[in-house]
Structures are given as structure tokens and as C-alpha cells.
């Protein structure tokens, strides 16, 4: 199948599966998958298409969650405004962290993002409005546009899907735009991109801020879904988890991170029943994945189809 047609099929599948999901699986579970899938796709924009491994992406997910939770719960914002506030904060934080981090590359880039994210984590633990390790509990879902009661699981689900779809579309369009082509050029050969006259730093920073903002959008939505913002989302384990989702699904493939998110979230959710073994099993998946399926699930499938 030619790639374009394959993408169209995948899009169709995505929309149909997304619309049908709440009738097939437990709605809150589906919502969590959508949020983390958006997070992973945003992360993939940076890792898969720009070649930048950020090890601090949880900072954006978590910060946006806290801001949304606080504005909705304490300041009484409408849910849609709260989400916008969270996303905007994540974008601003992305600008600050991004401008510092893009000055270095490779493993150093990863380490700077980790360092700054650790500071964000510490602040999240300290600031009074986050509720420390108890988390920001009991965030009301509120009424969308003052009309639709989001406490209803189906309404909430389609609201989340209506956030996910454009978010994902933005990433898709970015990848296939001239801007995305430049990003890929930077990933493949940075000195060459510079010599062609591109302002590489500016491109990297734009990609970083975009990725941070979309991660924030995911985090903000997640807070409304669970009605809670907690330290889990700012912890470096979450930054590691998003790497796992992306790698497992297929780094640098458009749909890979979604598949990765489905697998990881399912593992966590159904893994909750295997108790003590969940850590060992996660570790084993990591090892098998790195040794045998480095292209990830979608990457390997794509090659299978091309034959």
C-alpha cells in the first residue's frame, strides 16, 4: 500500500475506534488512553521528528494539570477556560525550559531537561496550592460552555475525544508541513541544515514549545477526567513512561505513540491485578522491545505491509 493511502486508512480507523471506544471498553479507561496518547504524540514530535530526547516532559503534563485543577476548583473557571489556562502555562514553561535546553544536544539535552523537570517537581511538592503529596483533590468537571454536564461519562468522553483529535491533527499537519520537513532535516544532519541557511535553534525551540503545549493540553484534560492532579504526573517516572510508550509504539511513526499508549495504559490497568509482578513484566517488555523490536509495533507493522 502506498504510504498516503495507508495514512488515510489509519485515520479512518482512528476516528471509528475513537467514536466506538466508550461502548467497547470502560469510558474512563478510554479517556486515560486518549490523554496519554496525545502526550506521547506530542513527545514523539520532539523525539521522533526532531531527534531531541527530552527526559523532563512530565513537567509540562503535570504543571498544566495543576494549573487547570487550581483555576477550575478554586477560581471557578469554566472547564474549557481552565484547560486553556493549563495549556498556556505549559507552553510558557516550555519556552523557558526549551530556550535553555536547545543550546545543547544529545545526552546533555536530555540531562538539562531532566534537571529542570526535577526543579519543577520540587516546586510542585512545595507550593501550597498543589496539595503536596496529597494532590489537588476533588476538581469539579463542571459544565462545558456552561451547558453540557461533564459528569456524564459519555459527554466527558466525547469532550476528551474532541480535544484529542484536533491536538493529534496539529501534530500530523506539523509533521507533513514544510516546517516538519526542516525538523526532519535537523534530525538527520544538523550541520547541513545550518549550512542551508535555516535558523536551527528557532526551529528546535518552536518544536519544543509546541510539544510542551500539547503535552500540557493532555495533562489539563487528564486532570478533569480524574478530577485530581497529583505528583505522579510531575515525577520523572512519568517522563520515562512517555519514552516507553513512544519507543514501544514506534518512534518517528505518526500513529505509533497511540499504540504505545494503549499498550502501556492497559498494562498498568490490568497489571494492577497481577500485583507484585507488574514491575518485572514492565522491565521484561522493555528488554524484549530494545533487543528485538526496535522499530516499535507500528514501525514493524509498516515494514511488514510494505513487503
Amino acid at each position: 500500500m502506498p504510504p498516503l493511502k495507508m495514512n488515510a486508512v489509519a485515520w479512518g480507523l482512528l476516528v471509528v475506534a475513537g467514536l466506538a471506544a466508550p461502548f467497547l471498553v470502560y469510558p474512563v479507561f478510554a479517556m486515560k488512553i486518549l490523554c496519554l496518547a496525545l502526550f506521547a504524540c506530542a513527545f514523539n514530535l520532539l523525539l521522533g521528528y526532531t531527534g531531541l530526547l527530552s527526559f523532563g516532559h512530565a513537567a509540562f503534563l503535570g504543571t498544566a494539570g495543576y494549573v487547570t485543577g487550581h483555576t477550575v476548583k478554586v477560581l471557578g473557571f469554566q472547564p474549557e477556560i481552565g484547560i486553556l489556562a493549563g495549556t498556556a502555562t505549559a507552553a510558557a514553561l516550555g519556552y523557558v525550559i526549551g530556550s535553555l535546553a536547545i543550546r545543547r544536544s544529545g545526552i546533555y539535552f536530555a540531562m538539562i531537561t531532566l534537571a529542570l523537570a526535577q526543579m519543577v517537581y520540587f516546586m510542585s511538592l512545595q507550593m501550597p496550592f498543589t496539595g503536596g503529596e496529597d494532590g489537588l483533590q476533588g476538581v469539579p468537571r463542571g459544565k462545558l460552555f456552561g451547558m453540557i454536564d461533564l459528569l456524564h461519562p459519555l459527554y466527558m468522553y466525547y469532550f476528551v475525544f474532541a480535544i484529542f483529535l484536533p491536538g493529534f491533527w496539529v501534530i500530523y499537519r506539523t509533521i507533513h508541513s514544510p516546517f516538519g520537513q526542516v525538523l526532519k532535516a535537523i534530525r538527520e544532519n544538523e550541520p547541513r541544515a545550518i549550512s542551508l541557511g535555516y535558523d536551527v535553534e528557532k526551529y528546535k525551540l518552536t518544536a519544543f514549545v509546541l510539544s510542551a503545549a500539547l503535552s500540557g493540553l493532555a495533562g489539563a484534560t487528564k486532570t478533569l477526567v480524574f478530577q485530581l492532579a497529583s505528583l505522579t504526573d510531575v515525577h520523572w517516572h512519568m517522563s520515562g513512561e512517555v519514552v516507553l510508550m513512544t519507543l514501544l509504539g514506534g518512534m518517528g511513526t505518526v500513529f505509533g505513540p497511540i499504540v504505545g499508549a494503549i499498550v502501556v495504559v492497559s498494562l498498568q490497568n490490568y497489571g494492577a491485578n497481577i500485583g507484585e509482578w507488574v514491575i518485572v513484566i514492565t522491565g521484561t517488555i522493555f528488554v524484549i522491545c530494545v533487543l528485538a523490536f526496535r522499530r516499535g509495533i507500528v514501525g514493524e507493522l509498516a515494514i511488514l505491509f510494505k513487503r
Partner: protein, 322 residues
């Protein structure tokens, strides 16, 4: 009370001494990581788990087989080192030509498996390893009580660290290692068995982690997560020192211990308080900085330092740009 900023001179001296003790742990752990990264180009995320294995083997040996501390100090690193070599032969070998990312992810997965298995068998509360008779007790220095065991830890780690540095930088064997880091193909062409050298190097790095684990067993609670709490800090030490730099990791490890000691004493936070708290606007501007330098923030201190160092000296304090 003779004091600066609420901490007496003796108190500060005590804090620095304690910092040195911690620093020697950081040094020996980051040294192992640095050696592995230097030759294998692999970021060994399993280092913390291997450190934990070292401590646990010592405990298992004592509990079930009657192996004493000194034998544990020798046997535990050997066993864990051998285990490391098996991992290298079986798995890591396949990743050398790939991006750093894969080595990091593989060893991360291995760390999870090892930790999970220990958790399953030994529970999470951990076990207690007694200080050996010979090193029990301590000396009262007047301003603080100095446990003999901690002095031994500093001495042992410094000897091992500088011994390792000497071998790598000043001997023929070390010159092979350095050559292998620069250009393995060429070295292979000269008839050196490079794959074997790589396996042994990984084994040695892992053994260092286990050695640190045995040293730590009488001080810290021996439990399955003792390493994963430490690993991120040790990473930061290696990055600040310069990835792969032997001297860098030793000096940075000890230096970090000292700085942490000062931060934990609360001296800097007190200093900032006394200087700025009365000034209306500056007080609130300085507040977040003060927070980052307060004792409870001592776990983030290293990350503040790392961010600053990487922005000023991209390759770390002792590293070279590759």
C-alpha cells in the same frame, strides 16, 4: 556562640566531614558509570540495581552462609561483576552501534526486573546489616562523634577510586583501554581482543557498584529500592564531571558531597534570609532561590548545579566535546 549565619564553626566542620563521607559514595558509584560510558558508550541505568545486589548478596551471605564482612567485600563484587559480564555478552553487545538511547532503555528494563525480583523475594522493608566488630564504635572529636566505619568507607573508596584512575591513566593496560575508547577498530587491528576487554570493563564497572553496595550495607537499610533512589543523583554527578571522564567523576562526586553538606546545614538559606528578608521586594524575589538552597531541597541541589554547569561548560567540568 561563635557562629556564622546560625551555624557554629564546629557544626560546619562536622557537616563538611559528613559531606565527605557521602561524597566518597557518589565518587565510587559515578566512577563505575563513567568507565562503562567511556568504553561501551552505554549509560548503565542498571547501576543502582547492581549496587543493591552487592548489598543484598553481603546480607544473604551473612544470614544464610555465615560469610563475614571482609569476605563479602571481596566475593560480592566478584559475583555481581560476573553477572554483569553475562548481561554484556548476552544483551548489551548487540547495542553498541546504536544510539545511546537504546542502551539506556535496555538497562532501565534490566533494573526493573532485578528490583522486582528482589522485592518479590525479600519484601520492601529491607534488612539490617550489622557493622563488623573491628569497625564498630567511633571517636569523639569534641565537636562531633566520628564513627570508625565511616572513616573506613572514605579510606576504602578513595583507595579504590585513585587506584582505578592510576591503572587507567598510567599503565599499559590502561592505555589499551583509552585506545579502545578512541578507536576500537584500530586497536583490534593491533591484535588486542577488544570484545573481551569491553566485557571485562563492564564487569569491573558493575563490580565497583557492588563494592559500594557492600560498603553501604551497614550504614543504610538494605532494601530493593536503595539503588533506584540514588541512581539519578549519580547520573547527574557523571554528567557534571563530564561523561566518561574518570577524574571528573571522582572529583565531582566528592565535591557534590561537600556542597550537599553545606546545603543540608541550612547555612546558605540562613544567610539569604538574614541578607534579604528585611528588604521588601528583594525578599520575595530571592524566596524561590532560598527554597532551592534550603536543607529540604538538598535532593535537588545537584540538578541546579547540573543545569548551570551544562549551560556554561557543555561537556561538563572535566569532559571534552566529542
Amino acid at each position: 556562640m561563635t557562629g556564622i549565619f546560625g551555624v557554629s564553626i564546629q557544626g560546619l566542620f562536622g557537616q563538611l566531614l559528613v559531606g565527605l563521607l557521602n561524597g566518597s559514595f557518589y565518587a565510587i558509584l559515578s566512577l563505575g558509570l563513567a568507565i562503562i560510558f567511556g568504553l561501551l558508550n552505554i549509560i548503565n541505568f542498571a547501576h543502582g540495581a547492581q549496587y543493591m545486589m552487592g548489598a543484598f548478596l553481603a546480607w544473604i551471605g551473612m544470614r544464610y552462609l555465615g560469610v563475614n564482612y571482609w569476605w563479602a567485600l571481596l566475593l560480592s563484587p566478584l559475583l555481581v561483576g560476573a553477572f554483569g559480564m553475562l548481561l554484556e555478552r548476552g544483551m548489551l553487545k548487540k547495542l553498541y552501534k546504536l544510539d545511546h538511547l537504546y542502551g539506556l532503555l535496555l538497562t532501565f528494563g534490566l533494573a526493573l526486573i532485578i528490583e522486582g525480583l528482589f522485592r518479590y523475594r525479600f519484601g520492601i522493608s529491607g534488612e539490617s546489616y550489622p557493622v563488623t566488630e573491628l569497625l564498630a564504635g567511633g571517636k569523639n572529636l569534641g565537636f562531633m562523634f566520628l564513627p570508625k566505619y565511616r572513616v573506613w568507607v572514605v579510606a576504602a573508596s578513595l583507595v579504590v577510586c585513585f587506584g582505578t584512575w592510576f591503572v587507567i591513566e598510567r599503565t599499559k593496560l590502561g592505555s589499551y583501554l583509552r585506545a579502545g575508547t578512541e578507536n576500537p577498530q584500530l586497536l583490534q587491528a593491533f591484535g588486542v581482543n577488544v570484545p573481551l576487554m569491553i566485557t571485562l570493563t563492564y564487569g569491573y564497572g558493575v563490580a565497583l557498584a557492588a563494592f559500594a553496595g557492600v560498603l553501604a550495607a551497614p550504614i543504610f537499610n538494605v532494601n530493593p529500592v536503595m539503588g533506584s533512589n540514588l541512581i539519578i543523583v549519580v547520573f547527574a554527578v557523571v554528567v557534571v564531571g563530564g561523561m566518561g571522564s574518570i577524574m571528573g567523576s571522582i572529583v565531582t562526586g566528592i565535591g557534590l558531597g561537600l556542597i550537599e553538606g553545606i546545603v543540608k546545614s541550612g547555612m546558605i538559606a540562613n544567610l539569604l534570609s538574614s541578607a534579604f528578608d528585611s528588604v521588601p521586594v528583594a525578599g520575595s524575589i530571592v524566596y524561590p532561590i532560598k527554597l532551592l538552597l534550603s536543607p529540604e531541597a538538598s535532593a535537588v541541589t545537584i540538578f541546579v548545579i547540573m543545569a548551570i554547569v551544562l549551560l556554561v561548560r557543555p561537556a561538563g567540568l572535566f569532559g571534552r566535546e566529542r
